[in-house]
Amino acid sequence: MIVDKKVVANIAELAQLEILPENMQEFVDSLTDVLNLVEEMQSVDTNGIEPMSNPLDGVQRLRSDTVTESDQRDYLQEVAPETANGLYLVPKVIE
C-alpha cells in the first residue's frame, strides 16, 4: 500500500481536515507507519469468522414512542458560535 501525498489529500478531503503543505510529509509518514504496523493482520486466517461490533453480542432495547424533550433552544444555543433567529449560521451553501 503506497501512501503518498495524493492519498493523504483524498483522505483529508473525506475527513474535512485542512493539511497545510508544511505538514503534509508528517501526515504521509504517520499514515505510512500505522499502515505498516497493522499490515500484519493480513497474515491471519479469518475465513468464516463473524466480525464483532459489540463485545457482548447484545440486542437493542427499544424505547416507547413518547415525547420526552421540550424546547431548550436558548439554553442549548448558549454554546453555539453563531446563530440568528434561532437558526445556526454557516457560510452560504449553494446547491
Binding site: L14, A15, Q16, E39, M41, V44, P55, L56, P81, P91
Partner: protein, 484 residues
C-alpha cells in the same frame, strides 16, 4: 486526611472528626499549593465544591446525608459536567460548557461525592502519556520528568498526589490501567457496558468504558457500586443487576485458579516488572491459589486490530466537531469547506488528526474489508481465545505496562513506540473484559502495577484478588514524599 481511604473518610465524617467542608477545603488547598507543578487539573470547581460541602454538612447533621457525602473526587475532563467547562483536553472544546451531566457524574453527585474539578487528559483520550493535551503535559508525582501515563493521566496523578480521594477515568486501550500503573495507584476498567457512556465524550464507541482511579481495590469497589448499572440512555449498557462489589473483597483465595498469559512475558518487558509480578504470583500461590499457564494466541494481533478499530470509530465520532453548533470555530470562514477544514485543523491536535486520517482510510472504499472488517474479525478471535482460557482459570494475571513511566518527550516523537505501550492492555478492551491494575512494586523509584483480567462481569473477583494483595502488601499505600 488526604491519605485516608474512602471508608476511613466516611468514618471520620460520621464521628465528626472533621466536617465535609474541612475535608473539601483541605483538598482544595492542596490542589492550590501542589497542582501547579503537576498540572493535573484543567478546571477547578473549588467554590462549587465548598458550597456543596456545606449543604452536605447540614444534611449530615439532620441524618439525611447520602452514603458518600463529602468524599472529594475529580472527573476526567471527558465527562460532561453541566455548567462546567468540558474540554476533553482539546482546543476544539476549550470554549465548551456542557449543558448536561454525564450519567456517571450524576450518579456520583447523587451519593454526595464532591468533584473538585476536571482533570487533564490526552486530547479526546488519544494517547498514553498525557503529552497530547492542549493544556500541557501532566507530570508524574513520582518524578517530575516522567509521564503519568495516559490518557487519564490527570486523574491518576491527582489521586497519586493525594489531591483527591478518587477520580473517574476512561479506558479505551488502557487509559485507566496504564496511568494507574505508572502512578502507583489502583485503576479499574469494568466490563464493556457495565457503566453508562451517556455524557462521556466518545473516542471509540465499542471500546470506551468509564472506570475508577483510586488508592485501593476497596475504594474502587465502593465507587463501582455507584457508577455501574443499566442506563436507558446508553443502548450499549448492560441490562443487568449490579452486585455489591464490596461484599466479596475479603473472600479467601484458596482454590482460585489464576492464569498467567504466556504471550505477556516475552521480549520488551522490564525485568523489574517481571520479577515484581512473579513475586505477587508466589504470594497468591502461598495463599492457596492455583497458578497455571494460559495462552491467548490472537493477542499478537491486538495492536493492529486496535489501531484500526479505534481510529475508525473515532474518525466518525469526531465528525461532529465542525464549528457549527458548539466548540471551536475558525476566524472568518470563506465558505463552508473552509469552515470545516480550518476549524478542524486548528481545533484538533496532531495526534487526533493523524488518528482521524488512519480511521478514515481504514473505512474508505476498497480498504474497508482489509482493514476495518478484518480487525473486527480478529477481535472475535481474541474474545474466543479469552473465553477458552476462562474455562481453565478464573482470572488472568500479567503486567500492565512493558516499562515503568518513561520520560516526558522520550516517546512523543516515536508514534509507534508510543502505541506499543498498550500491548498488554488493549486485548481486554477489544474483548470487552473487565481488568484492573494494582501497585506491585517499584523500578528505579518509579511504581508499576500488576494487571488482573477477569471474565465478563467478574469485577468482584478481580477486586477480591487485588484486595487480598493489598492486605498483604503496602505498595498501594505508598505516596511520593512531596505529596504525602
Amino acid at each position: 486526611m488526604h491519605e485516608q481511604s474512602i471508608s476511613q473518610m466516611l468514618d471520620a465524617l460520621d464521628r465528626k472528626e472533621y466536617s465535609c467542608e474541612e475535608l473539601i477545603t483541605h483538598h482544595v488547598d492542596r490542589i492550590h499549593q501542589l497542582d501547579e507543578q503537576l498540572n493535573t487539573f484543567i478546571t477547578h470547581t473549588a467554590e462549587q465544591a465548598v458550597t456543596r460541602a456545606r449543604v452536605l454538612d447540614t444534611a449530615r447533621a439532620k441524618g439525611e446525608a447520602p452514603p458518600l457525602a463529602g468524599i472529594p473526587i475529580a472527573h476526567k475532563d471527558i465527562f460532561c459536567t453541566e455548567g462546567v467547562k468540558t474540554s476533553a483536553g482539546s482546543h476544539m472544546l476549550d470554549n465548551f460548557t456542557s449543558p448536561y451531566d454525564a450519567t456517571v457524574v450524576e450518579k456520583l453527585q447523587a451519593v454526595g461525592a464532591i468533584s473538585l474539578g476536571k482533570t487533564n487528559m490526552d486530547e479526546f483520550a488519544m494517547g498514553s502519556s498525557n503529552e497530547n493535551s492542549y493544556y500541557g503535559a501532566v507530570k508524574n508525582p513520582w518524578s517530575e520528568t516522567a509521564v503519568p501515563g495516559g490518557s487519564s493521566g490527570g486523574s491518576a496523578a491527582a489521586v497519586a498526589a493525594r489531591l483527591c480521594a478518587a477520580a473517574t477515568g476512561t479506558d479505551t486501550g488502557g487509559s485507566i490501567r496504564q496511568p494507574a500503573s505508572m502512578c502507583g495507584i489502583t485503576g479499574l476498567k469494568p466490563t464493556y457496558g457495565r457503566v453508562s457512556r451517556w455524557g462521556m465524550i466518545a473516542y471509540a464507541s465499542s471500546l470506551d468504558q468509564a472506570g475508577t482511579l483510586t488508592r485501593s481495590a476497596e475504594d474502587a469497589a465502593i465507587l463501582l457500586n455507584v457508577m455501574a448499572g443499566y442506563d436507558p440512555k446508553d443502548s450499549t449498557s448492560l441490562f443487568m443487576d449490579v452486585p455489591d462489589y464490596t461484599q466479596a473483597l475479603n473472600k479467601p483465595i484458596d482454590g482460585l485458579r489464576i492464569g498467567v498469559c504466556q504471550e505477556y512475558f516475552g521480549q520488551g518487558l522490564d525485568p523489574d516488572i517481571e520479577s515484581g509480578i512473579q513475586l505477587a504470583l508466589k504470594m497468591f500461590e502461598s495463599a492457596g491459589a492455583v497458578i497455571s499457564d494460559v495462552t491467548i494466541p490472537a493477542s499478537q494481533h491486538a495492536i493492529p486490530a486496535y489501531y484500526v478499530i479505534a481510529p475508525a470509530e473515532a474518525s466518525a465520532n469526531l465528525s461532529r466537531y465542525d464549528g457549527v453548533r458548539f466548540g471551536y470555530r475558525c476566524e472568518s470562514p470563506a465558505d463552508l469547506a473552509d469552515l470545516y477544514q480550518r476549524s478542524r485543523n486548528e481545533g484538533f491536535g496532531t495526534e487526533v488528526k493523524q488518528r482521524i486520517m488512519v480511521g478514515s482510510f481504514a473505512l474508505s472504499a476498497g480498504y474497508y474489508d482489509a482493514y476495518y472488517r478484518k480487525a473486527q474479525q480478529i477481535r472475535r478471535l481474541i474474545k474466543d481465545d479469552f473465553l477458552a482460557a476462562f474455562k481453565k482459570v478464573d482470572l488472568i494475571i500479567g503486567p500492565t505496562t512493558p516499562t515503568p513511566a518513561f520520560k516526558i518527550g522520550e516517546k512523543s516523537e516515536d508514534q509507534i513506540s508510543m502505541y506499543l505501550q498498550d500491548i498488554y492492555t488493549i486485548t481486554s478492551n477489544l474483548a470487552g473484559l473487565p481488568a484492573g491494575s494494582f501497585p506491585v512494586g517499584f523500578s528505579q523509584g518509579l511504581p508499576f502495577g500488576v494487571q488482573i483480567i477477569g471474565n465478563y462481569l467478574d469485577e468482584a473477583r478481580i477486586l477480591n484478588l487485588a484486595h487480598r494483595l493489598q492486605l498483604e502488601t503496602d505498595w498501594h499505600k505508598m505516596s511520593p514524599e512531596e505529596f504525602s
